[in-house]
Structure formats: structure tokens, C-alpha cells
């Protein structure tokens, strides 16, 4: 079925449109789901993506030639009708819905089903072929309510007025989401951020995401950050960079934090299970909901999700795309 769409290790090729979805190599025509580096690469000839994703790509790779596609807007490329639908993953993230020859293919990119104040919620689109991720494709991954995780962060913050809570969070998406969740819980104090996320936070603010007062964590005396939240990329948690902070309680916001040894390996004292990816229940519920004839699994723990599909009479295959999944991103 749908012989007009071809999975390759370097991306998904849409033959009639002569375009690649999230190609890992530079291509003439690229349809990009969202701005994370394992989906959006630099060097393409022409990019179709949401306005937000194009802005993120411009920030990361310099300006590139691109066409902004709004959510719900239809475009036609070589006989394929293409629509971008919210994926609920990060700002600007989209599922790409392709209609051709009476068949519909939905490429989700990465997605989640939980509410996220920084992006539009995932919209399920019934289809013939559903292309899904499986980052947390094991039944041990069941993310708790975001609220309970944020509460733990605030409890730790208030219990240690002489320390700071250093939250490791991916610079695109997770960091801004954590900050917005804090604001939503009435946390009004300035939040200190690592230099590597300043421009991305500014971009979010340009798109109308209000994150309250953000201050650079660099060049500030340690004393000033006592009793405050500091947000940095996960790689800076155990780096020399964090030595400037006042006795930080090391937290990390990631779906991987569900597994004790994962948290211990990263020397995390306060693991926060907050993920931008669907957990096991979300993955399986979504597949049931969109009820595809066939499910293609792009990356992650595809073996377990394949097994689940098989035992639920759902035709499925693993695509083994290369270069996907940055663990920090979970």
C-alpha cells in the first residue's frame, strides 16, 4: 500500500512530490516536522515547515529558503495534498498529513498527548499509514502527571532557601515548558538561564510565550541565585559551568528519569519525569485512536511497540531511521 511513499534510512521520501520528510542529509526539497536537530538539519534547498519551525531553523542554521505552512493550511506538491497538524511536541511541531491516490499517510515526527503551555495540542488524524516514534516504547515508561513533578520541584526549592535548584532541560522545548509550568503554578521569582538557551527563550517570547522574568546565570554572584531556579542544558549539569551556582540541587526534566539508574548515572538528585514524547500508554492509545491500516515506527524502542502491534492485530514495521534520538531530548 501507498507505494508513493518510501522509507529510507536517511528519511522518508514522498515520490510524487519529490520531497523528503525530516531528511538527515541535505536535500533539494524537505518537509520538516519540528526544530529538533535530529529532524531539522541545515543545508536543504527548500524547506516547508511551520513558521515557528522555520524561525528555529533560522536561529540554528542561519537563514534558509523556506515556505511557512500554517496549521491546517493545505498545500499541493506534485499531486500530493499536504497539511500540517499540531503534534504537541514543542513550539511549531507538526504532524505532516499527506493525501495522494486515495490514501492518507500521517508522519507524526515526535509527539505527545499531554498538555503543554508552549505548543498546540496533538490532533489525532485517522489515516491509512501512521508513522510514529517510539522513544518511550516500553511499558515501564508511564509519565506521571506533570503537576506532581512540578510540585516536587517547588517543594525542594522552598525546603532549601540557601541552595538553588538546577534543572537540566533540553534547550528547545523542555526548558521553556518547565519555565511556563512554574509560572502557571504561581512562581513569580526571576528564573536564571544558561547562556546556551537565551536566544531560544527569546524566540519563544517573540512568538508570544510569556515566561516571566528570565536572567542570565552567567556573571551573577552565586549568592543572588540562592533560593532560585536555574535552568541549563543537561550537558552542563555536571560540567564545570555548574560550579558557579550556590550548592545546587541537581534536577533533570526528562522521561528517562523514570528509571532510577538513569538518574543516578547522571548524578541527578531530583529526577523529574517530564517528557515531550508520548509514553507507552499515549503511544498505544494513539495508534488505537487513529486506527491505521498499517503503522510504521521510526525510532526508539521499536521492538516492543512492534510486538504490541502484532499482538493487537495491527500491521506494523520498523523503519530504522538513522541519526534519530538525542537522549537529552527525552
Amino acid at each position: 500500500m501507498a507505494h508513493w511513499i518510501e522509507p529510507h534510512p536517511t528519511g522518508i521520501y514522498v515520490r510524487p512530490a519529490d520531497a523528503w520528510i525530516d531528511p538527515s542529509l541535505p536535500q533539494e526539497r524537505a518537509l520538516v516536522t519540528h526544530g529538533h536537530a535530529d529532524h531539522a538539519r541545515g543545508g536543504h534547498g527548500h524547506v516547508w515547515a511551520t513558521r515557528e519551525t522555520l524561525a528555529i531553523m533560522a536561529l540554528r542554521y542561519g537563514t534558509a529558503s523556506g515556505t511557512a505552512v500554517g496549521y491546517g493550511e493545505e498545500i499541493r506538491l506534485g499531486g500530493v495534498t499536504i497539511r500540517y497538524v499540531p503534534a504537541g511536541h514543542v513550539l511549531g511541531s507538526a504532524q505532516i498529513v499527506l493525501d495522494h491516490a486515495g490514501e492518507r499517510v500521517v508522519v507524526t515526527g515526535d509527539y505527545k498527548r499531554r498538555p503543554d503551555p508552549t505548543c498546540k495540542a496533538f490532533e489525532p488524524v485517522p489515516c491509512d499509514i501512521f508513522v510514529t516514534e517510539a522513544t518511550f516504547g516500553l511499558p515501564v515508561f508511564r509519565h506521571p502527571e506533570t503537576g506532581s513533578e512540578m510540585d516536587r520541584l517547588l517543594v525542594a526549592l522552598h525546603a532549601h532557601p540557601d541552595r538553588c535548584v538546577l534543572v537540566g532541560a533540553y534547550a528547545l522545548g523542555k526548558a521553556q515548558r518547565v519555565i511556563c509550568e512554574l509560572r502557571a503554578r504561581g512562581h513569580r521569582d526571576p528564573i536564571y538561564i544558561h547562556g546556551a538557551m537565551e536566544r531560544m527563550c527569546a524566540l519563544y517570547q517573540d512568538f508570544g510565550i510569556d515566561m516571566g522574568e528570565l536572567r542570565p546565570a552567567t556573571g551573577v554572584p552565586a549568592k543572588e541565585m540562592r533560593g532560585h531556579v536555574v535552568v541549563s542544558p543537561p550537558s552542563a549539569l555536571n560540567d564545570r559551568w555548574s560550579r558557579r551556582l550556590p550548592d545546587p540541587i541537581t534536577a533533570m526534566a526528562s522521561g528517562w528519569m523514570r528509571v532510577r539508574q538513569r538518574a543516578r548515572q547522571k548524578n541527578v538528585e531530583l529526577p523529574l519525569v517530564i517528557s515531550d514524547h508520548a509514553d507507552w500508554d499515549e503511544l498505544t492509545d494513539t495508534i488505537r485512536e487513529v486506527a491505521p491500516t498499517e503503522t510504521w515506527i521510526t525510532h526508539g524502542r521499536e521492538e516492543a511497540l512492534l510486538h504490541w502491534c502484532m499482538t493487537h492485530q495491527i500491521k506494523a514495521r520498523a523503519l530504522a531511521l538513522v541519526g534519530r534520538e538525542d537522549e537529552d531530548e527525552g
Binding site: 506532581s148 532510577r260 539508574q261 543516578r264 548515572q265
Partner: protein, 527 residues
């Protein structure tokens, strides 16, 4: 259960000792009775439920979830209890991640105490349905025996003492007079009753320890010398009616060495080295390898006792009858010990002999010549030293033998445990036979810095030539300088050699593998 499971989580994630102590102290102050008493028992290893076998837990989860998905999950997570805790499918109407508060720790303990092996899985399942993932993890660890949260009994007691401004040695003294859930202990700590009287109970006294010798020499008119035996330090406490054996950490190890506990019927407290008889020293102390066969066993078979017979080489006498002699100088205690010896069973107890040397140079020669497998070095004890708890400057010194080293080639690597579980940190290394073949001579997982570990991990990943389950075989190109305390004949390895306490001393990136040491060369170091 929630308070207890959160304590366990906190202990897992908190790195600093003070942080762990603060968590334990807060719990001991705040948790209700008798929960906190049971928690204290669990943390000090005094709660031995073993209500369910690990295999029964596996069966439980396989019956409730897809076995294939369970196997994949377990493979990914690594730990059985954690996998099951995360995976547990509750009945539909119950929220998966909610501890509904209906189960207290003591209710769990009561249930597990009363349950038969056959009924245990059902009881477990019912309890699991009321807990969140952390609670299920704590329950599974309690039920299968062993929390393994990386704290010693001593640390738990220190946390308890800190909670109520007590002295931990004071807690230690009354400890063995009491039993879980320690109602009296909490009554005393919170000032409701006077101090429980430990007299008549065989309680632990803190050990006297030694500093490493750093000076070039000491005056032997001030210091007596004796061998430092390579066993485990133990304290024998007898009340005349009961005898207990304590390890250096204050753990009761009487159960692992019943023949020693039974052979001692006196009313005294003695300090000595637990050793296993062997042929390496003319029918006396065998190497530490032999003793290791007996360590960490809760129950010990007759065959074990016959194959690895234990005895104690005595160093010191702390208390004789009602006479506490710890304040007397070493010289007088030594005389009391020598006078005490004849009443002990000679097959289980002997006296650690003093080394007679005219001066320090002569002692150094004797030390250098000692290659006995059971000797770790020399102890120097001030002749006028009282027996005091802990390390006190200038009273006792340990003067260990210098380690031996060999250049070996890395052959296999395996992932470590705990916080190293993503790193290839356990290395098997070998030396060359005359035929130019590499044979494994040992395995080491310490000695390197964190930076070196990262480098070694990368080396393993980039130079893997084959995989056998969790083990990776690597290109035989990397030379590791391995330090070890001694080397022995061993039937367990094809090379016929076994190292004592091997560790990575240096990574020899500069040295070609062909120039590593030979088996023949290593055999010359065997004692």
C-alpha cells in the same frame, strides 16, 4: 508506605553522607510508631522477611502482563524489582501512580510476617494495587530481602542518633539488647524512659583502628610490631551464656561463622582476625581467597565449614569478665591476653605473635622478606596505648606491603553496576603464554579516575570484536598496568593464577601489547 518509599528514593538519589543522614534523621523524628522502628530494622539489615522469592515475582508479573514486553522491559531497566514496580498493571479503576495511603509500613510488615510462601504472591499483588511505583519498589525490596540502597547499618544508626541528639556509640551499646521494631529505643531517644540496660547482652564495642605509617621509621622501644593478617577483623563478645561476632562495621556475623561462636563460651570481649585454615602457610592461615568463600553467607553448610574451616588469630583483650581493661596500656592488655589463651580451644583460636626485631631496619628486612599469602603487612602499636575507639594519631600504625604490578592486556569488558551501569568498567585482562597466547589472569573494576573511565569506556565501544551477552571482547591492543597485593595459584582460571585485590594502576597507551608481561613472569611472584 509513602513516607518510607520516599525515604528510600531520597537515599538512592542523595550523594552526600550528610544528606543521607539528614534524610534518615528527619524520617526517624517524623514517622509514626511502629513504622519508624521497622524502617530502622530494614535499614540496618535486621529485618529478614524473605517472604517471596525473586522467581515468584517474575511469575506474578508474567501472569499479569505480556511476558515478551516484560522481558524487554527488564532487559532495559536491569533490576527486577524496579521493572516490576514500574510495569505493574493495576486494576482498571485504580490510578496507576497513586499511593492511596491505605497501607502503612507496619501493616506491610505484619502481612509479610504472617504469610505462607504459597499465599505470598496473592498478598503481594493486593498490596501492590494500593501503591505507586516507589511504594511498589520498596515493597518488592522488603519482601525479597535486602533494600540495597547503599547505606551501612552504621550509617542508619548514625542517622537515628542524629535525629535525637544521641551519641552513636551509645546507641550501638544498647542496640543489641533490643529488637525490632525498637519501641524501647524510641522511648529512650524521646526521653520517656531511661537508658535501656545493655548489661548481660553481647553488644558491640567500637574498634580501635590504625593510621597508615607515613614516617620513615619509629622507635621499637616505644612500638611493638606484629603481622597484619589478611582476613577480616572481628570482635568476639561473650557473656558466658551467649557469644556474638561483629565485623568492623558492627554487623553481627555470628551466623556466617557458627563454629567460632560455638567454640567461645567465655565471658570476655576480644579483638582478632578471622582467617580460614589452608595449606599456604603450613596448615595455618590460607589466603583471603579462601576466606571469601565464607563471607556474606547467612546460613553455612557443614561442607563449607569442613572445606574452609575458620579460626581467629587474637590481637587484643578489651574486657575480661566484668573487668573492662581498655584503659590499660597495650603491654598490660597483651599480658592479660596471653594469660587468657590457654582456656580457649586451640583449633579455633591462636595468638597473633609479635615480631622480634632489634631495630627498625631489621624489621623492614623482615617485612620485605614476608611473602606469606595471609600477611598484608606489619602493625605497629604503641606499647602504652589504651584501646580507644577509631583512629587516634600516633597510637597504632599499619605498614602495608607495597603492591606488586604487572603489565596486562585488556581482553574483555563488561558494564558495571550502580552509577556505572552504562559504562564498560569491569575489565578482564591477560598475560602471554610461551606460545604467544593471551590467558586471563584477573579482573579489575577500580583504580581509574572518572576521566580514565570515560576513556576506557570509549576504547571498549570502539574496539569491540565480539559480544557474548553482556560481555564484549576487545581488540587485544591496550596495555593496563595492574597493581595487586599478592598472587596465588588457582584452579579456577586457565592461567592457574589469581590476584588479590587487583586494580588498574595506569593505562599504558604508550606500550605495545606484545611487550606486556608473561604468565611465566607472574608465576615467579606467587607466594
Amino acid at each position: 508506605m509513602r513516607q518510607f518509599s520516599q525515604l528510600l528514593d531520597g537515599l538512592v538519589y542523595t550523594r552526600s553522607r550528610n544528606g543521607k543522614l539528614a534524610l534518615i534523621a528527619a524520617y526517624m523524628r517524623e514517622a509514626p510508631d511502629p513504622d519508624r522502628g521497622w524502617a530502622l530494622a530494614a535499614l540496618t539489615g535486621n529485618l529478614d522477611l524473605k517472604a517471596v522469592k525473586a522467581s515468584a515475582i517474575g511469575d506474578m508479573i508474567r501472569a499479569r502482563t505480556d511476558p515478551v514486553l516484560y522481558e524487554m522491559s527488564r532487559d532495559y531497566v536491569g533490576d527486577l524489582a524496579e521493572t516490576v514496580a514500574l510495569l505493574w498493571p493495576k486494576r482498571e479503576e485504580q490510578p496507576a501512580e497513586l499511593d492511596d495511603g491505605s497501607l502503612s509500613l507496619s501493616a506491610v510488615i505484619d502481612r509479610l510476617h504472617g504469610v505462607s510462601r504459597a499465599a505470598a504472591p496473592d498478598a503481594m499483588a493486593q498490596m501492590m494495587d494500593h501503591l505507586d511505583a516507589s511504594g511498589r519498589f520498596a515493597l518488592l525490596k522488603l519482601a525479597t530481602g535486602g533494600l540495597r540502597v547503599g547505606i551501612s547499618a552504621r550509617l542508619a544508626k548514625t542517622g537515628f542518633a542524629q535525629a535525637f541528639d544521641l551519641d552513636v556509640d551509645d546507641v550501638e551499646q544498647v542496640w543489641h539488647a533490643l529488637s525490632a521494631p525498637y519501641a524501647e529505643l524510641f522511648d529512650w531517644a524521646e526521653g520517656r524512659i531511661g537508658r535501656p540496660d545493655p548489661e548481660g547482652t553481647p553488644y558491640f564495642r567500637p574498634f580501635m583502628l590504625a593510621h597508615p605509617l607515613e614516617a620513615d621509621s619509629v622507635d621499637l622501644t616505644d612500638y611493638a610490631a606484629e603481622w597484619k593478617w589478611d582476613g577480616i577483623r572481628i570482635q568476639i563478645v561473650g557473656t558466658g551464656s551467649e557469644t556474638r561476632l561483629y565485623s568492623r562495621a558492627g554487623d553481627d556475623i555470628s551466623g556466617s561463622f557458627p563454629e567460632i561462636a560455638q567454640a567461645f563460651t567465655g565471658h570476655a570481649v576480644l579483638d582478632g582476625e578471622l582467617l580460614v585454615k589452608g595449606d599456604t602457610q603450613g596448615g595455618e592461615a590460607a589466603s583471603f581467597n579462601a576466606l571469601q568463600q565464607r563471607l556474606g553467607r547467612k546460613a553455612v553448610s557443614a561442607k563449607m565449614m569442613a572445606d574452609y574451616p575458620a579460626f581467629v588469630r587474637l590481637y587484643d583483650l578489651l574486657i575480661e569478665g566484668d573487668d573492662d581493661v581498655r584503659t590499660l596500656p597495650w603491654k598490660q592488655r597483651r599480658a592479660r591476653l596471653e594469660a587468657y589463651m590457654p582456656q580457649l580451644a586451640a583449633d579455633r583460636f591462636d595468638l597473633s605473635a609479635l615480631i622480634e626485631a632489634p631495630d627498625f631496619e631489621a624489621l623492614a628486612d623482615i617485612r620485605a622478606g614476608a611473602r606469606d599469602a595471609a600477611i598484608e603487612g606489619v602493625m605497629l602499636k604503641r606499647r602504652d596505648s589504651p584501646y580507644v575507639a577509631g583512629r587516634k594519631a600516633a597510637l597504632w600504625y599499619k605498614w602495608k606491603r607495597d603492591p606488586l604490578t604487572a603489565d596486562c592486556v585488556m581482553m574483555y569488558a563488561q558494564r558495571g553496576h550502580g552509577k556505572r551501569s552504562s559504562f564498560y568498567s569491569d575489565y578482564t585482562f591477560g598475560c602471554w603464554t610461551e606460545d604467544g597466547e593471551l590467558l586471563p589472569v584477573g579482573k579489575a573494576y577500580s583504580g581509574f579516575t572518572d576521566e580514565e573511565l570515560k576513556w576506557l569506556d570509549r576504547f571498549v565501544r570502539q574496539n569491540t570484536v565480539a559480544r557474548f551477552g553482556p560481555v564484549r571482547e576487545v581488540e587485544k591492543t591496550l596495555v593496563l598496568e595492574v597493581a595487586f597485593d599478592s598472587i596465588h595459584d588457582s584452579k579456577r582460571h586457565k592461567s592457574g593464577l589469581a590476584m588479590r585485590f587487583p586494580r588498574i594502576a595506569r593505562i599504558r597507551k604508550d606500550k605495545p601489547a606484545a611487550e606486556a608481561d608473561t604468565i611465566e613472569g607472574l608465576k615467579k611472584l606467587v607466594v
